[in-house]
Each structure stands twice: as C-alpha cells, then as structure tokens.
Symmetry: C2
Subunit: 558 residues, 2 copies
C-alpha cells in the first residue's frame, strides 16, 4: 500500500478563508490582518482586549530523545489539536515558525505530517509573514549602529576586540562565520573581526519569543549586551540607542500568525528560537493569547523532553507565568526499537524484546516530567508497520511507570485517529491535578541551578567546569544576573553529552565548555558541546533542484 507524501496531502487541503478560522475563535475581521487568503496576524489591539478572559488549559507535547526513526512531535501536536476539536472542544495549536535558510540545504519540511498538518506548507517554508525578515532587519540595524558608533568617535569606549554582537542572515552561509569587517580604508571604519550567525540564533529571536508585550520587548532589547570596554564593563544595546527603532521594526512580527490545520482548526505559528542556545518554543505572545481565546491550547517544545520540556518549564513557563495542565510525551515503537539497539534498516521487522529494552529512555522522561508536578500521558504515534504486540509492550511498560500510554493514529487518519488521546488529555487537563512548579528556584546560585538540571534531569553524577567558567558565573551573579534561569545547550540525542549514548545512562558527567549571558532574553546559556550557529550547505544543496514548474507550482522544496 502506498501513502501520499506530506506535500501532496497539503496541496489537497480544502483551506477555508482565514477570516472563517478567526471567526471560530471569535476574532473580529478587522482585528485579523490578512497575509494572502490563508494567513493572518492578530492585531495588538485585539490581544490587549482579551487579557481579562479566563485562561484555557495548557497542554505541552514533548518527546523522547529523537532518533533517526523519527518521533512525530509536531504531527502529534497537530493531531491532538484536531482531536480535541473533533470531540467538541474549542482547541488551538501553537507551534514554531520554520527558518528559511536551511530549506536550501536539505529539503524543507511540513508542519506536522500525513493527515495531521498545518497549512499553507509552501509559505511556511518560505517568507511566511515576514517575521524572520523583521528579526534579521532589527538585528542588522543594531550591528550597523555599533560599528557606526565606533566610526564616529566611539564615545562609549567600546573595545573593538570585544564586540560580542555578531551579524545575522537567514541563510546557510559558512563563508560568513568568521570575517574581517571595515577593511578598505578610513571611510569604512575600524577593521575588526566579526561574523554572521543564522537568524534563528539571534538573541532578538529569543526575546521576541519571551517578551510579554511591545514595552517588554523594547526593554529586553535594550538590556542586551553588545560589547565590552577595555575594563570589561558591558555596553548595552540601550547605550547604542537602538532598542526603539528595533521595536518599530518588530512591531508586526510580535503579532501571532494564524493559520489552519488540514481539518480547518486554528493554529498559531509564531517565533522559532534555537533549541540549544535558546529555549526552543513558540512565542509567549502566541501561547498566552491562545489561552485567552481557546479552552485548550496544545503546544510543543524543541528536541526531547530533557532539553525542550525542561526549558519550556524552567524558562518559558516560569517567566510567562504559565503552568501546563497536562504533558503529552510522544514515543514511537520504532524509536523504542532503536533505543533498544535495532539498526534503522531493521526497523520493519517485529522485535518486542528490543521495544522493551528501549523503553528505559521513555521511562526516565516520564519520571523527569513528573518531577515538575505535571501529569504525563504517553502518546504512541502510530506507524503503519507497528505490530499489536509491540504497541502492547510499550503500554505495559508505561503502566509500570505509573503513567498511561495511548495509541494515536492521526498521521494516517487525522482527528479520527486521535480522539482517544484527545479525550484522555482533556479529562486530565480538566481534572486540575497538575501542580506545576519549576525544578529550581530563582534565587539558587547559577552553578547550583546547572547542577540541579544535570543531576535531576540528565541523572549525571557531576558537572565539570574550569575555574574560568565558575568565575564568570560568579561575576554575573555579582552584576545582578544570578536570578536568571539556565538555558542548556547540549546534544539532543542523549541524556548525556555524548550523542551516541541512547537509553537511560547513569554515572556520566556533564562537562561545560563555555557559558554565555543572554541578558535581554533573560537566561544564561551553558554550552556542553559544539554548537553550530551558522550552518553550511551540503555538496548538492536542495536549492539546485528547487524551481517553479510550468503550472507555477514549487518543485524540489519538499
């Protein structure tokens, strides 16, 4: 039996005019700012007007550590949202926007998959509503203003060797990773080293996704550290007087983007910070607005639960005053098998023992999530080759961990396949059993916070860092940054810092390579490995085969 590709299904979607989707949520047409007929931004005025509404239930979708077998986190997020609507609930989905640049390296992706997708897929892989372009512009303006300040006399005494504000472009361009700027003589400024990151790595992106409103956005932008003086004192974005103009450039980008699922249910697709050097969730504005206009909001966090859910809880929820009412942990039989030692090529064959063996990874995530005080449901994202015995093995294991697993067939069947999951999730969310709290308090030392995450979540024995790193953390505490949460940047493939260690390892240590302060976003980034902030293109980039066919349809992007 053959299945349609995601893009084929997406192109067959019977999309409704976006005003009809907004209408389901009660958003008046004048407060929906359309971008074409199938995308719209929700006006700031409307967002302000719903603040007094009651708050809906928040459901986080997270996953086990990803394997090459795929886990389908976004697919499950979409499928669950459709399922909730199917059983008569007023539900919304909140997911992240895709970055433009990487689509020209590897093929772009769907938002979801099979019959659980958000559309329009082409636009979401291209310019969408221009949010990322606005972020690139705002970031670039600050970059230009810093060098311009130095050029015109450097009143702020910036040490040109210590400009930490890099430039960004939304393209995979390795040639820009490390560059020398201001060459060519007096008229072009003072030569110095610089470089470009990809736009999603910009602190502006993280801020846009964490800011509560435009005032908060402007304040956080002003708080960013852009350079240091010879005496190591920081120079802030506000010293450059760039935050106001950056806010003007970002004012439309701050408004959530409304689109729809294949089943015409509403979805916000808004923001897309890195899940390593940033927190990897869609915007606070989208999530909090959705909670005011829908009764159930299904959202997701980047990578596996050890990274994504941890940051969602400890950074986003803490800072935005959010509290999840239920967490859905996505697992697949195939991923269990891979965790149990089966090679990708052999995933087609039934192997109940391997499934059982691989469940330890799932088990640890369940335990970790419970430590935040939230109820956990495991969603087994069904693949058509999964056997009943394999599915039962997962269910039994999850039961043994004091939780429950529900098979969901949204990929194949849309909401018809996810009603069981939706019913149970709604029941739990409605029950009020969640007693959410972050796993460390604000006033714990930065070092202790890192240890808390490493030991409680990664189950490491120790955190290793040289004196320089510890001194740096101490210095930030002295400067008043000690109350910030931690943003871990480590491999997504393992609880450890070694991407090849699957399952649920213990006895490992977490070596810290460097720490970075994102003073505007409001977290301390702890880097435990190589972090690539500017990808390159492969030897045969997807761009070479992307084109418009004679019917004006895009080919090669998917």
């Amino acid at each position: 039996m053959s299945y349609k590709s995601d893009i084929e299904i997406a192109r067959e979607a019977k999309k409704k005019p976006i005003q009809e989707i907004g209408d389901k949520l009660g958003i008046p047409t004048e407060h929906l700012l359309p971008y074409g007929h199938d995308k719209a931004k929700v006006s700031q005025e409307y967002i302000n007007s719903v603040q007094g509404n009651k708050t809906g239930k928040l459901i986080l979708v997270t996953a086990i550590n990803p394997t090459p077998a795929g886990e389908g986190k976004t697919t499950t997020t979409v499928g669950l949202g459709d399922g909730l609507n199917r059983i008569g609930k007023k539900a919304m989905i909140c997911i992240r926007e895709a970055s433009l640049g990487p689509n020209f390296g590897m093929k772009g992706g769907a938002a979801g998959g099979g019959y659980a997708q958000v559309v329009p897929m082409e636009d979401m892989n291209l310019h969408f509503t221009g949010d990322f372009h606005a972020i690139t512009s705002a970031h670039s303006l600050l970059s230009a203003m810093i060098d311009n300040h130095i050029y015109w006399g450097n009143e702020l005494d910036i040490d040109v060797r210590r400009v930490v504000w890099r430039r960004v472009v939304d393209m995979n361009d390795r040639a820009l990773r490390q560059i020398n700027v201001s060459l060519g003589g007096v008229a072009n400024g003072f030569p110095r080293e610089g470089g470009f990151d990809i736009t999603v790595a910009s602190e502006v992106m993280a801020i846009l996704c964490l800011a509560n409103n435009l005032k908060d956005l402007e304040k956080r932008l002003g708080d960013m550290i852009v350079a240091y003086r010879r005496d190591r004192s920081p120079v802030f974005c506000r010293d450059i007087q760039a935050a106001g103009a950056m806010t003007v450039l970002l004012k439309d980008a701050m408004q959530p983007n409304l689109v729809q699922t294949l089943e015409n249910n509403p979805a916000f697709v808004h923001g897309g910070p890195f899940a390593n050097i940033a927190h990897g969730c869609n915007s606070v504005t989208a999530t909090t607005t959705a909670l005011k206009i829908a009764d159930y909001v299904v959202t997701e966090a980047g990578f596996g639960a050890d990274l994504g859910a941890e940051k969602f809880m400890n950074i986003k929820c803490r800072k935005a005053g959010l509290a999840p009412d239920c967490v859905v942990l996505v697992a697949t039989v195939r991923a269990m098998k891979m965790n149990g030692g089966v090679a990708k090529a052999d995933l087609g064959a039934e192997n109940v023992d391997a499934v059982k063996e691989g469940c330890s990874n799932l088990g640890r995530h369940i335990g970790n999530l419970k430590s935040f005080g939230v109820p956990v449901v495991v969603a087994i994202n069904h693949f058509v080759n999964d056997t009943d015995a394999e599915v039962e093995a997962v269910k039994d294991y999850v039961k043994s961990q004091g939780s429950e697993a529900i098979l969901s067939r949204h990929w194949e069947l849309g909401s018809e396949g996810s009603t069981d999951l939706a019913k149970r999730v709604a029941e739990i969310a409605d029950s009020g059993v969640s007693q959410f709290s972050p796993i460390y308090p604000d006033d714990m030392s930065l070092w202790d916070k890192i240890n808390r995450i490493a030991k409680s979540i990664y189950r490491a024995d120790e955190v290793m860092a040289d004196k320089k790193v510890r001194d740096q953390l101490k210095q930030w505490e002295d400067q008043g940054y000690g109350n910030l949460p931690i943003c871990m940047a480590k491999t997504q493939y393992s609880f450890t810092t070694d991407p090849t260690r699957r399952g649920a390892p213990t006895g490992h240590s977490v070596p810290i390579r460097e720490v970075r302060l994102s003073a505007g976003a409001g977290f301390v980034v702890v880097v435990c490995g190589e972090i690539m902030t500017m990808p390159g293109l492969p030897s045969r980039p997807a761009a070479e085969s992307i084109h418009l066919n004679d019917d004006g349809m895009i080919e090669g992007l998917f």
Copy 2:
C-alpha cells in the same frame, strides 16, 4: 499660516479597504492577496488574464535636475493621478518602493507630499509587503551557493579573486563594504575578499523590475555573471544552478503591490532599483498590468530627465515595448531661482530675473524629451510663496520653447488643484500625437551609444575613456552583449559630471571611470563618478530617536 506635515496628513487619511480599491479596477477579491487591510498584491493569475485587454495611455512624470529647493516629482505624479480620476478618467499611479535601510540614517519620506500622497506611509517606509526582503534572500542564496560551490571542490574553476557577485543587506552598514570572508580554517571555506551592497543595488532588483514574467525572471537571473575563471571566461548564475530557487523566493515579490492615494485612487508601488547603477523605475510588471486595467497610467522615473527619463525611454520602454503618450516635466519656481543663482536661504523673496535666468535648465530638458518624439507638458508644482509674476515668467519661457506650462496646486489642494493639468495631459495623451522612439538603435556599438547619450542629452563635446574601458566594451560586443542599452551612472545634479554646474552647460566632456556588465538585467552600466553602493549612517542616525509611543504610534521615522 501653518501647514500640516506629510505624516499628519497621511495619518488622517480615510483609507478604504483595499478590496474596494481593487474593485474600482475590476480586480476580483480572490485575485487580491491582502497584506493587512490597506495593501494587496495582485495575483499572477489575474495578471495573466488581462493580457488581452486594450492598453491604456502611459504618462511619464520626470523633472528638471534636482536642487535642494525640491521639485516634487512624486507629489506631482500622485497629484496628476488624482486629478485624472477627478475629471472622470480611470487612472492609476505607478511608483517605486522605498528602501528600508536608509530610513534609519536620515528620516524616511512620504510617497508624495501634502495632499498628494500614497498611503500607508509607515508601512511603505518599513517592511511593506516584503519584496525587498525577498530580493535580499534571493541574492543571499546565490552568494552562499557560490562560496559553497568553491568549498565543495570548485568544479566550475572559479577564480576566488574574481568573484564579482557581492552580498547585500537592506541596511546602511559601511563596515560591510569591504570584508574578508571564509576566515577561521578549513571548515569555513577559502578566504577571499568580498563585500556587501545595499539591497536596492542588487542586480536581482533591476531584473525583478525589468522581467516580463516569472519565466523571463528565471532566465535573466540565470544570465547574471557571478565570477570569472583564470582565463577570464564568465561563470553564470545558471552554472551555479541557483536561478530556480531564486525565482521561487521571488515569486510573490514579482506581483505588484496595490495601495491607494489620500483620495482613494489606486496606485501600484512596486520595485525600486537604483537610479544610477540601474534604471530607476518601478517594475515593468506593475506598469504593463496597470496599462491593462486602467485607461491612464501615471508613472515616474528617478532623478532628473537627463538620467531618469533617458533610461525610462532607452531601457524600460525599449525592452518592455512601452511608449509614453505624454511626458510631464516637473519644475518649480524655487528650483528655477536656484538654477538662476539664488541661495536656498533667499528663496522666499520674489526674484523674477533669477527665475528667467534659471529656466535654461528646464529648456534643455524640454528639447531633450522632444527628441524622443513625445509631447511635453511642464507642470509648475506650486509652492505657496510663489508669486504670480514668477509663475508667469516660467510659463512665458516654456511657451518660447514651443511647449506649455500649467500651474498645479495638488500639494495644497489635492486633485482640486491639479484638474487643469489633468485635463490637458489627458487631451494630449488621447490625441495620439506621440511618436516615441529611443534615441539610439539596438545595433549601434556600445561606444557610439554612450556618445549618442552624452552628446544629444548632456550636450557634451566628447566622451573620454581610456583604452581599458574601450577594450572592455569591444570584448562584450564580441561576446554578444553589443545589442544592450546603456545605463549611465552620473551625478543627478547637473547635465555634466560636475554636480555644481547647474543650468544648461555646454562644451564639457564626459569622463568614464569604469564600465560594468549587468548581463541579467540587460544593460551596460557606464560609471562617470563615485557611485556609492553601500551608504553609511550619519553621526546621529535617525534610528536613535525612532520608537513606538505609548499609543503604539511610530515616532521619529518621519
């Protein structure tokens, strides 16, 4: 008496929903792709569907050489468009989009002025519908793919010293004018010199504005020369296999943007190539589409008539098969006075003799325009301090040149002030007296074409160029580029290459500094002075005072 500022007037505009504006033109709602409530793109499908319609009358608005007194070319374009609508004609306006970056240096500007403006002004000075971001993306993709090609083995044998494709960003950032890229080791590529221009200087911008359709766009993009080999043979964009993906990135940007005047008349605002290294007119798509859906189309060209109108005729009209039915030459009493030797500070006082003295600049433009076979009307763009005697002096002079001048008060009164101009222009356009032809044929040698422009338009005695330049022109002719038109890049302030020489000088020579081939756009750029393709910010950039006020309104941008 005090007058309202442009932004005050713009903010008081009673805008109609963009669907109503489209409705005036007969564009069905489903073919208008809205961007908010006051901007829309016209669908490619609709553009295709109107190709069989009869073609309207084309009116070009151009001007004398600009002086610091201001001439009001866009204001007159808008005022004339409104005037034509007022007298019952179905008329459209076609003007250029503004570049984002420069607004953060000097304050942004209106599209038009006083009561002759196109709105929404804020959006048009910010991201608008994202066209320029799309151009930046498409350009950046090619940049990344070139270095990526070199990185993965350089099969095309590109000489890294001869990569002529620079990078672009839509920001005034002098630090990026000259840079070294690919530093930092093997993983980052082969170090080489590079640099950034501002987006509007990209050849992609020129191509977007000259392409007839998406197929033509893709072909022209492929034709661009991006580098040379050691043997000096060119490497094309098509060799890099980038043109298809660039076209996908540009497909929405190719659709004209519909907005409205203060009087709710339709305007296309689309494309914005440099008026020096490119041809400086709005897109061919916008102009040709407008001609199919309106009876009169008023458009403008960059700088004064010696540059803007010359290129409009010899490049845009020639290549797009357009023929202007009437040319409106904008002059002001104040500009005549400055051309007559009056300092800016003294412009307030009546000075009929200076007006008469300064009219020689106007006279030469009239003669030049007539040499294209087109009828010319001078529009005296009225300033409230102009005296009757001064206005009469201009009228008398124009009459002596075998043309006619009409006073127009659209800035102060909107269309009520421009009905006289509109009536006469419509009459001339309807009369069919225009016998347009470019002033040089395709098959003239490049050198002779340059001489034709310099001698017929600038009234220079000679063109000066060293052997290297002449050899280069010869080589391009041998390579099959001899049939291309010339794109002059020289000061806009004088008929000569010396910006301080006002009036109508003779006996000068035109020194050529360099020539550049824009093989995709389809012209040879002849550079006669310093051309800045990446501006810098001033010591106190406008950005420092741009911000959102407590009501969410933008302050400091205007």
